[in-house]
Structure formats: C-alpha cells, structure tokens
C-alpha cells in the first residue's frame, strides 16, 4: 500500500480520493499536459505541412492589418473595422431575430389557423433551403424591391434565418410554463398581451435565455456568409487582405482567432449573467 521501507506508524492516510497523484487522469496538470500535447501536435502538423509547401510565414506583417499607431494615434486596421461591421450586423440581427422569433412563436401557438399556417410556411421555407440561397434571394430580389443596401440585405437575411431558431426556443419556453398559470391568469380576465407580458414571459425567460445566447454566438459565426455579397465584414476584409498579400495562413488564423475571442468571451459573459440571475432567486 505504501512505499516499501518507510515507517508509516499510526499516521492516518487521507481518504483515497483526496490524494490525487500529480499525474493521475483527474489532476488538472494532466489535462493541461494533454492540451499542450494536442496543441503542439496540431501546430507541428500545420508547420511541417507549410514547410513542405515551402510556405513563407510572415507573421510580422499581420499586426498592421489589425491596428497601426501613427504619430501616437491609434488607427483601426481593416480586420478591426471588419469586426466592427460583423458586430454591428450581429446586434441588429439579434434584436430582429428575437422579434421575428417572438411573432412566429405566438402565431404558432395562436388559435388562428391562418396565423399557424403562415408561421409554418416561414419555418419550413427557412429550414429547407440553403442559407446561401436565402442570402441571394434577399440581395438580388428583395433588396432592389425594398431599396435597401447590402448591409441591410445581410442583416435581414440573418435575422430571418436565426429567427426560425429563436421562434422554436421561445415557443418551447412558453410551453414549459404550466397550464395552471394560463388558467390562473385567464380567470382574472387578463388580455392575451398582458398574460404574456406579466405572467408567461417572466416565467419563460430564464428558460429561454441560455439557448438564446447560443443563438447569438451562432449568429456571429453565420454572419461570415455575407462576405459573398461583399459586405465589408471581418471575413470579407480577411479575404481582401489575402488577395493583396497572399498571406492565407496567417490571415485566416487571425480571423478565426478574432471570431473565437468574441464568441468565447460572449459565452463567459453569459454564464456569468446566468449565475447572477440564479442568485437573484
């Protein structure tokens, strides 16, 4: 049991689970080592692959595309400006997709047959056609009719796309409120809108919020598709830089890292919010 040759005496050993050896599978060190080996391996693969292609790494040229400092003044590089456009699109789309999702969810739960039909047509249409085709429809068909620019064509397309997911999230949240709450509020004569606002939504929102933030994160990722209609977002800027400089590896890694930083910090922010909400009852 113990190391041979030492005197254990009457000393009591701590219970076995408290003594995690440094290199056991449960120790944090083990996971760190695991991660380091993994990352090292991937890096080596990419590096040796690039070597084999005789790729000319030029990381030193990347930072000027993120930002520059000229005469002590901070100047946004194209990548940060693209990020700004991506975030602006995401913010608009989040609000719009929640609004679209809300209306669709209410239509689906309503007892109006035409309302339910309309919602179903929208949901099935969005789900069963490629996002890229939807984007072209918005850009080449709807945008000229509505007289909107490419930015708003992109925002609307993303909003209707994510709105279909938002509607399912909202619908599930509303349906998880017990029947008794509907009956209790109906018996007091609330209008449907008041019932939603004061009774149903406050109870559904804690259930809606976590999946809704997942939606925000996927919205940021899906927004990259607007580069095909040349909205100057992060991905478009990345492509532009590459076509000028041929630094495909460096720029794509940088672009991916920027997306990663944004989405990961969003998820941290959200879990912190959820934690706060739980403490507030």
């Amino acid at each position: 049991m113990t190391i041979v040759g030492t005197h254990v005496g009457s000393r009591r050993l701590p219970p076995p689970h408290a003594r995690t050896p440094l290199l056991s599978r449960k120790s944090p060190l083990f996971s760190l080592v695991q991660l380091a080996v993994l990352l090292g391996g991937v890096t080596w693969l990419i590096y040796s692959g690039a070597q084999a292609m005789e790729y000319n790494w030029q990381w030193y040229r990347v930072d000027r595309y993120i930002y520059r400092i000229v005469d002590g003044e901070f100047i946004f590089g194209p990548l940060l400006r693209g990020l700004g456009v991506t975030l602006e699109m995401a913010v608009w789309s989040v609000f719009l997709s929640i609004a679209i999702g809300m209306v669709t969810a209410l239509l689906r739960l309503s007892n109006s047959a035409s309302g339910r039909f309309l919602a179903t047509v929208y949901l099935e249409g969005i789900r069963n056609t490629p996002l890229l085709v939807q984007l072209f429809l918005f850009y080449y068909v709807l945008a000229p009719i509505l007289e909107i620019d490419r930015f708003w064509a992109g925002v609307l397309c993303l909003s209707f796309f994510e709105g279909s997911f938002a509607s399912e999230i909202i619908r599930a949240g509303l349906q998880s409120v017990p029947r008794g709450q509907y009956e209790g509020s109906d018996a007091l004569g609330f209008t449907k809108l008041d019932r939603l606002r004061f009774i149903l939504l406050p109870q559904a929102i804690p259930l809606i919020l976590p999946p809704m933030t997942g939606l925000l994160i996927s919205l940021i990722k899906h927004s990259a598709i607007v580069s095909v209609i040349a909205v100057a977002d992060l991905t478009t800027e990345g492509m532009n830089i590459i076509s000028e400089t041929f630094m495909a590896f460096e720029i794509w890694f940088t672009v991916a890292a920027i997306y990663l930083v944004i989405t990961v910090s969003l998820s941290f922010f959200v879990s912190w919010l959820e934690h706060l909400m739980k403490r507030h009852r």
């Binding site: 008794g180 709450q181 009956e183 209790g184 509020s185 109906d186 018996a187 007091l188 004569g189 609330f190 209008t191 449907k192 008041d194 004061f198 009774i199 406050p202 109870q203 009852r281």
Partner: protein, 251 residues
C-alpha cells in the same frame, strides 16, 4: 334565499353541452343560481363537475346551449369573455398563484390591469382581503414560501380583489394536507355568510351542510339531482345519489 333574487339570475346555464372529441363531458346542463345563493356541486370523479364550472368563465368552451352571467350571455367575443372573467372569481385545486410575483403583487396585478385601479387603491384592497383571509403579514413573501393552506387563502383573496359577483371553487381543499383544510373552509364559510354568490365543487360535506342553499349532484356529464342539503343528505331521490353518498360518507 331565493326570495331575495329578482327575475335575473346571477348565473344561468341553459341546455349546456360540451364534448371532448366524441366524448360527451356535459349534456344538457340546466342550472340557475340567484344572487347570494350558494350551490355545492358533487359527484363521482369524471362526472363533469370541473368542466361545468370551467365553462362559466370560458376556461372550457361550451358547444351547445347558453350561459348567462348576471344577464350577459357568454359569447365567442374576446372582449365579452374578458369582461365576464373579471366578474367571475375562480379558485383552483392547485391554487395557480403566480410564483414569480410576491403575494401582494399576485393580488394587485389583476385589479391594476383589468379594473384600472391605481397602485395605491389596489394595494389597499389587497391588504383588506389579505386581512380577511388572515395572512396580511405574509404580503411580501413569495407563494413558494407559504404552506398549501396559506397559498389557497391567498388564491381566494386574489379572486376577491377583483370584487367578483360570482365565485367558483373547484375542489379548493382536495390538494391540501388535512390540518390545512379547516382554515380554508373557515374563510369560505365567512365569505358565504357575507352574501357572496358561490358555486363550489367540493366533497367537504360538513361545509356543504353548513352553507349550501342547494346541492347539485352530477353523474356522467348530467345533473342528476338538485335538492336542499337536508333533503339531499337524508332523503336522496335517485339510486345514483344514494350510492354516491354512501360511498363518500363512509369515509
């Protein structure tokens, strides 16, 4: 009691029918309740007692016949339904309090939104009814912090805050622990003594004897017998009523 009523009933059901799919849950229900009258409804499980009173405030939609509340017919019109619901209070077996709102807010939200009371007026009214059900000191707690009996009394107070003309009770004590029942019944007896018009579905026969003007016995979606409580309990007319009473009173 009946001499106090005019020619108008507080509640009148004429030939009311209700089906769930092909299943007939209510058949040709006729019932008149005068202002101030207390009617206790009993009958075996599944006989349609809940369905009947839930039709009165449109928690269920009747498919045949007519329902009048204080002379106004209940129709499909949303506004009409809302107005009638504001005049008819309902107490449920499982309370149906709003868990995210304090007791006070549970009581004031309806009057503020649906009767256009100011916040102060609604607060005042809420405290008045909380005192009446003897839990004024719990006003700032949340429903989950109260016992079942207390929650049910809050639910009664919440319905009363709308100052309804008619109160419906659907087995208000059957989800309660035995020691909680008397407190709720006491409140209901007082309400009856104050002259509230009440339709109660309950198997609390002591309560029924004490307050009921009429007993209504239902079976298989029909009203089988209507009688004043002393005759109902001592000399029921039909075999079905006798059987039911023998089962329920043997407990």
């Amino acid at each position: 009691m009946s001499e106090s009523g005019g020619d108008r009933y507080m509640l009148e059901m004429q030939g009311v029918g209700k089906w769930f799919g092909n299943f007939c849950a209510l058949y040709d229900i006729d019932l008149q309740v005068r202002s101030g009258e207390k009617v206790v409804v009993c009958g075996p499980s599944g006989s349609g007692k809940s369905t009947m009173i839930r039709c009165v405030n449109r928690l269920e939609e009747h498919q045949a016949g007519h329902i009048f509340v204080d002379g106004t017919e209940l129709t499909d019109d949303t506004k009409n339904i809302e107005l009638i619901r504001r005049e008819v209070g309902m107490v449920f077996q499982h309370f149906n309090l709003f868990p995210h709102l304090s007791v006070r807010r549970n009581l004031t939200l309806g009057p503020i939104r649906n009767l256009n009371l100011s916040k102060n007026e609604a607060d005042e009214r809420a405290m008045q009814y909380l005192e009446r059900v003897r839990i004024a000191e719990q006003a700032d707690k949340f429903p989950s912090q109260l016992s079942g009996g207390q929650q049910q009394r809050v639910a009664i107070a919440r319905a009363l805050c709308m100052q309804p003309k008619l109160m419906l009770f659907d087995e208000p004590t059957s989800a309660l622990d035995p020691e909680m029942i008397s407190g709720v019944l006491e409140v209901m007896v007082e309400l009856a003594q104050d002259g509230m018009t009440m339709v109660c579905v309950t198997h609390e026969m002591g309560f029924a004897r004490q307050v009921a003007d009429r007993m209504v016995f239902m079976d298989s979606g029909e009203i089988v017998e209507v009688a004043p409580p002393d005759r109902f309990f001592s000399d029921p007319e039909t075999e079905r009523t006798k059987l039911f009473l023998s089962q329920i009173l043997s407990h």
